[in-house]
Symmetry: C2
Subunit: 308 residues, 2 copies
Amino acid sequence: MRDLVLGLEAVLPTGEIWSSLKRPRKDNTGYDLRHLITGAEGTLGVVTAACLKLYPLPVSKAVAMAGLETSEAALKLLEIARREAGGGLEAFEIISRLGIELAVRHIPNSRDPLETPHTWYLLIETAGGAGDEAQGALERILTLAFEDGLIQDAAIAQSEGQAKAFWALRENQSAAQKCEGPAWKHDVAVPVSAIPEFIDKAGKVMQAFCPGVRIPAFGHVGDGNLHYDVLAAEGGDIAAHMALREQACERVDDVVVSLGGSISAEHGIGVMKVAEGLRFKDPVEIAAYRAIRASLDPKKIMNPRVLF
Amino acid sequence: MRDLVLGLEAVLPTGEIWSSLKRPRKDNTGYDLRHLITGAEGTLGVVTAACLKLYPLPVSKAVAMAGLETSEAALKLLEIARREAGGGLEAFEIISRLGIELAVRHIPNSRDPLETPHTWYLLIETAGGAGDEAQGALERILTLAFEDGLIQDAAIAQSEGQAKAFWALRENQSAAQKCEGPAWKHDVAVPVSAIPEFIDKAGKVMQAFCPGVRIPAFGHVGDGNLHYDVLAAEGGDIAAHMALREQACERVDDVVVSLGGSISAEHGIGVMKVAEGLRFKDPVEIAAYRAIRASLDPKKIMNPRVLF
């Protein structure tokens, strides 16, 4: 989202309107207030309008679901896919086997996308400038993946309906989880290359902390962004599970930060993660935040409880 | 460049080191100091290290030079090229006829890229994920452009050498200009759709201000970014020309700002453009800059003469 914001209008803590809509794609005439206000959780201004970049609709699209055994293989395949798609890699989403099972169990009209179960699934979408380019790129990607032993099975959607069915499995991950009860939720990002290490380490930490918990992880591999949600063991006590939430999150966050990651990729710090944020942030950075905030909002009237 | 910066390390005005290298691709855990310091011209910190995004090398590339009569046609062709290249449009650079002539005149081994002269030239580069994709996309783009009457001639580079020769015409624009004497230089950006209006209006303003000046404009159409340099009339007095620089720049900047553009797309404000910056910037924005700067550098020891 941040990358799409070209211009903003916001009401500043002084009550003044700062308007910088329709700005050109390049502008180096001062501090980038647009990026400062984006993600500031309303502490520096209330955004009242935004001007976003637009892209042309792809001429052709193709969608596949692949089954694989390791997240390391997903990373290797990402490299192939970025190269072979030549700028047209639209989606590269990982879903755990448990996530697929929960979607099939709870979401009407869902079904297993491949004949046999696999540890991980990748939803891959390509776009092309000509009618057959997207499909051609996807076929090349999957062929190379088979040859290199990175995937064990794959299906390319043969119709718009099948493409939608593949996407529905991904888009219903959160909804399907909810039917199993509340989770310890984490929206984390690690350097892309650290995804396998994160999954391995965080999984071990969680099982040691609370044996039997179920982790239907899913996310955007190209961003290193995982929605790492942890459900109670099958049939486990929900209240007991949620009583451990804070301790569990600290343990996951420790792994994230040890790998150079972010404890909040998309959702921000809000009120809930202030303590966790303070635990990890460089004091130099916190001091800079506070100085900037005080300079624009000396009375701290804007969303005072968030962001340290 | 801004879009490629993943992480930064900087020495802040306090002498403290702020280190945020190797950050993940998504991080919403506080203010984006990375974007605040990028482009701040050293006023908020001295950047000592940066971590940049990398992309895989394209499998295939193709380069063409097209000749056309109007900048409106260039815009229409950009739309076609973005669609047909399916994410693989690598370059879309406009060069004026005068710019081509100056390169041919002053740069050894340069020659006119097309048989007959055209008012404008576009250097188009595409990339693809397979051996023939880049060339295929470029052929589609040029075919559609011919059919729509947008271009009058085009040549696709048939060898690496020819591709380099096309690129050399673009890359030597500044060097070729210099051989003609100093110019009133402008590095401006306007909304992409306003490029033709800018070229038309600024050209009229310049000719009214100083008849006979020569304008070998070139730039990145997709960014709305033009290097709009104005040379003295053929054989004109250089000293007299440069004595008018400040007044000329004000007139060009007026046109830029009237179209919602930026008076400095890439090069910043520095010392030279402080007055021009102050003339156009919203006082609310200037006040925010000053407050932020004072909060991080109360003694104003960092590059004190720049940025207002």
